[in-house]
Symmetry: C2
Subunit: 356 residues, 2 copies
């Protein structure tokens, strides 16, 4: 069952390292195969002794689209980045990336340690032509829809050109994932007058304006606009983006706990809460959507989808669907063409004097 030959339009699914364990990952695979008839074939990586029985129960052992790839090691949340990448070559996460590097697969889906996934993905899969750093791009719910936050933590010390590339990568992802042909791109900052913010923002603002129709840049976006219908792609450095994303999750959790405590604090409230239960379920689905199961690490030769550590089977099912979509609708050449145009506009090549 080790074979990953033949069709290379294949997803490498890291079954280990998620909070809910590999059984949840196998359930997700079962759901994805039923939900998406044209799902790309999947190589599921992890401990054979653990996954074998689970695949049997799920009637997937003999499934034509499912291949089991045994790996002996597991990367944990506690692992140090470089140590894990050097020492745990036979882990499900690193082998999954390896399969993409070898061309035996085109996309990785993993719930594992973000820092290690980002570092290993960047080291093993090269970046696209003209791009220096990849960016993590989660889809986040807001009034009337969703927006893409890029970068959510892959590149904490971003340079202006990195943010420009994020704007291009985010725009292409918005076209594919949100189905918006001309996504509005905003630059996250603290003052919407020109010249406000910091030097990185000011430089990037000028660069984005210089791109013309390459990116539909609508200008700076302030924090108070984020969750309302202003832009479809929010560009920021990985430091700001990661703190925002994580603190938004923290705040949502705090809300839910407080609201729950308030609803349970009297019999009347409890009864009212039961009658209105549907509203809370509805809200939960808006605030914590499983619809976008994974955040892609954009800018690499190959797709890497990072699912939340606590992603359940539905989130992972959708991550698998997205991975298939990434493989099917390969935008690489269009992205590289846009990046090349942007780099030429912002870093014009020196004139060759011999040609004068």
């Amino acid at each position: 069952m080790e074979s990953t030959q033949g069709d290379t339009r294949r997803i490498a699914l890291d079954a280990m390292g998620g909070d809910l364990g590999s059984a949840e990952v196998v359930s997700a695979l079962r759901l994805a195969l039923d939900e998406f008839p044209d799902l790309c074939p999947v190589t599921i990586l992890g401990d054979e002794a653990e996954l074998g029985p689970l695949l049997d129960q799920a009637k997937l052992s003999a499934h034509p689209k499912v291949t089991l790839h045994h790996t002996a090691e597991v990367i944990t949340m506690g692992d140090e980045v470089m140590t894990a990448i050097k020492r745990k070559r036979d882990s499900s996460m690193l082998k999954a990336i390896e399969l993409v590097k070898e061309g035996a697969a085109r996309a990785v889906v993993s719930t594992g340690n973000t820092k290690i996934l980002v570092s290993a993905g960047t080291l093993k899969l090269r970046t696209l032509a003209g791009i220096e750093r990849p960016a993590l791009a989660p889809v986040i719910p807001r009034e009337g829809g969703h927006f893409i936050l890029i970068d959510a933590g892959a590149n904490p010390e971003a340079k202006s050109m990195h943010l420009v590339h994020n704007a291009i990568l985010g725009s292409h992802y918005a076209r594919m994932e949100l189905g918006i042909e001309k996504p509005r791109v905003g630059l996250l900052t603290i003052g919407t007058e020109e010249g406000k913010g910091n030097s990185l923002i000011n430089d990037t603002h000028e660069h984005l304006k210089a791109l013309g129709d390459l990116v539909h840049y609508v200008g700076p976006v302030e924090g108070f606009q984020v969750f309302f219908d202003h832009v479809d792609v929010i560009v920021c450095d990985g430091f700001t983006g990661n703190i925002c994303l994580k603190s938004w999750e923290s705040l949502s959790k705090f809300f839910r706990n407080e609201l729950k405590a308030q609803m349970l604090s009297s019999p009347l409230r409890r009864l009212g809460g039961m009658m209105a239960r549907g509203a809370f379920t509805g809200l939960r689905h808006r605030i914590q959507p499983e619809r976008y199961g994974g955040a892609p690490l954009l800018g690499l030769r190959g797709t890497v989808l990072k699912a939340h550590g606590s992603a359940n089977r539905y989130a992972l099912m959708n991550a698998l669907g997205d991975a298939s979509e990434f493989i099917r609708v390969d935008r690489t050449s269009r992205i590289e063409a846009d990046i090349d145009r942007a780099n030429k506009i912002l870093r014009p090549e020196p004139v060759d004097v011999s040609e004068l």
Copy 2:
């Protein structure tokens, strides 16, 4: 009624520029005088033609603690920072700061334009000895209490020493406002292992560890920990802090709107919602507290309290109470002593060779 002589332990209240108008400010003053018997005397600044009648209605015209100071101009949200500071000298906000500079008052309370308040406060009132930049420090609700975020936007291009000073300023404010003798201080970043984050964070982390008992530094804090009971003071640069604060407000508003829409989407939910109404009120008070009516601009010679533009009478009442507290419990000398110790530890003075 122009006199601001006599007791200089006085609050300068900017009555103009708030979203709810000067009537709300006068109501806040009435409430504060009733709520806090030992409230410091207040000079209310704004258009006499507008404020005079409002003070009459509120029976405050002849109040021994209330002085009206007429100003002809108003600073609006649209004003450019330096233009306003140069041209609108006779505005309620700038005059209020002027009164503190002259020694006719010790604290400013304003709902006006944050950027202008921060810039004017910094330019007109000098910073405390050893401090280069002031910091904005709102109090924010979290699981089991509140935390102080410093800096929320005063200093978007912070250096490591600025963050160290924020840690000291925030600790003193936590002692006064939250009543915590040994507040836990955390450094907001993206990875809790040492060496993660960016160079500013890494330098600051080493500096804070070097301070010994000067600051109760418990280490880096990640976004996911922010709204849970980990630290009492969260230190960050003004760029990150302002984006966080504003986006948290945006998310709270989005959350409330979504929940409301969900609750109204069926008769059963509507009825349940009415029965549980108390829970939503309770939640609103936790999430959008009026208890901490204003965010102080710390590090200046004189108190500047920035109330939210949409602050209502209760928020402003508490801002006035806080301003009184700042004047009564003046921690300036203790803060300057701590700053001096920190600067000596981190920037040891060169040895005077002549003394060897």
